[in-house]
């Protein structure tokens, strides 16, 4: 259905996720390898933003100086605290594939206590940091000192950028009601972790 005055589609979904055939010229490289996923398909509506956002997201969320395991701890924990269904579902699978245990994943999702699943203080400090950032955004000195313990500044900066970028995506995906891929839902069902 289309709003008569604005011409804007007011269908069931907040926005249309563009397909490869509909991809704007600047967005086509992102569709060349197949379905790029709903975040890219939504960003393609504004191709000049996609051109900047996609590489940024790729650098922040992709392979970097941080260990992939701790990156998934940050992404999944932040997403769960922000109640982002899409990101929790997608990154539950990624976290499991990254070597996090079933118990750790359930803990990050808020289904089990952190203390039992993560005995190491260095992990708990990161989780507490994520919880604080998703909350009011202000971080007390004790929480900050725990995170900084034994970590160089560049790691603190990257952990913080990762958590806050995840939070940005959490709000984006939740607001636009992005759909989880069927294969992800199937994996979640197999793991007994459907939302």
């Amino acid at each position: 259905m289309v709003d008569w005055m604005s011409g804007i589609s007011v269908g069931d979904r907040p926005v249309t996720l563009l397909t490869a055939d509909e991809a704007p010229l600047l967005a086509r490289p992102y569709f060349a390898g197949g379905d790029p996923g709903p975040i890219i398909a939504a960003l393609a509506q504004v191709p000049e933003m996609l051109e900047v956002a996609a590489p940024f997201l790729g650098v922040v969320l992709g392979p970097s100086a941080l260990d992939v395991r701790i990156k998934e701890v940050v992404i999944l924990r932040t997403s769960a605290r922000a109640s982002c269904r899409y990101c929790v579902e997608a990154h539950t699978v990624v976290a499991l594939d990254s070597g996090l245990s079933d118990t750790e994943v359930r803990s990050l999702r808020g289904e089990l206590g952190v203390e039992d699943a993560f005995p190491a203080e260095e992990d708990r400090a990161v989780i507490a940091w994520c919880d604080a950032l998703v909350g009011t955004g202000s971080v007390d000195a004790a929480c900050r000192d725990r995170l900084r313990q034994g970590r160089p500044d560049h790691v603190v900066v990257e952990l913080t950028l990762l958590a806050t970028t995840t939070l940005l995506l959490n709000r984006f995906c939740t607001a636009l009601e992005l759909p989880t891929a069927p294969e992800v839902l199937a994996r979640l069902a197999t793991a007994g972790m459907t939302s």
């Binding site: 289309v2 008569w4 005055m5 604005s6 704007p24 010229l25 000049e48 933003m49």
Partner: protein, 279 residues
Amino acid sequence: MSTAVAEAVREGRLPGRVWLYANYHCNLVCTYCLTDSSPKSPRRDLAADRMVDLAVQARELGFTDLGVTGGEPFLRPDMVEVLLAMAEQLPTVVLSNATLFHGDRLTRVEALAGQPVVIQVSLDYADAEDNDAQRGDDNHATVVAAISRLVERGIRVRVGTTLDPDAEVSDDEHARLCALHRSLGVADEDHVVRPIVRRGRADVADVGVRATAADLPPELTVTADGAWWSPFGPTIRDGVPETDLLITRTTDPLVTPATALLRLIDGRPPGDDAHLGIR
């Protein structure tokens, strides 16, 4: 001011014209309309001051010409004033169905006489029956009369003919159309013939040639919804602008889509020029 755009235009890599979609609504419902325009279409107007500002920016960037299309631009009561202001910046062509040039509108449009503004009027066939089958009852007679009135008032008129590429138009039919436009005071160099492009309503009606970016000259085109590769880009399907030829949503400053268009052009293979003659 020399800019990358000016350089590309001088070198012939980038067409010099910038198109603006004034609106999307129309008093006609042509069978092959790219923009699915009708009296009930959402207007999607570009505001008058926005159009003039885009004209200023186009000139400053080094573009050499402007085009205005729609919808039917002259449904907007401010169109003559907008065209005069745009033409102070660059020569301007405006596409029109020419069915509104009578009464007060005809009086207002007289102000375009002697100005660097050309009205390109749609007339598809020499025979009224063929023409009106595509463009509506009495369209042929209305348009022929309007062209005469415009020419009499010193307004330069071009005739734009849009043909179904699968329809066989004989040399005799084409000659009669040319004789008609000459008799109305429109010279041969002001007669443009192009195929129906299979987008928008034409695609739904299963007529016209398919055209991709490789087939269309990269003429920067601005609408209320963004900037496109070509005036054949911002077509309407199921009530929504098609996005496959979208460049950017940002249109102000104009340098943003212009620069993106240049990047796209520079990414095209050498010699990959438009070959369908769709202009």
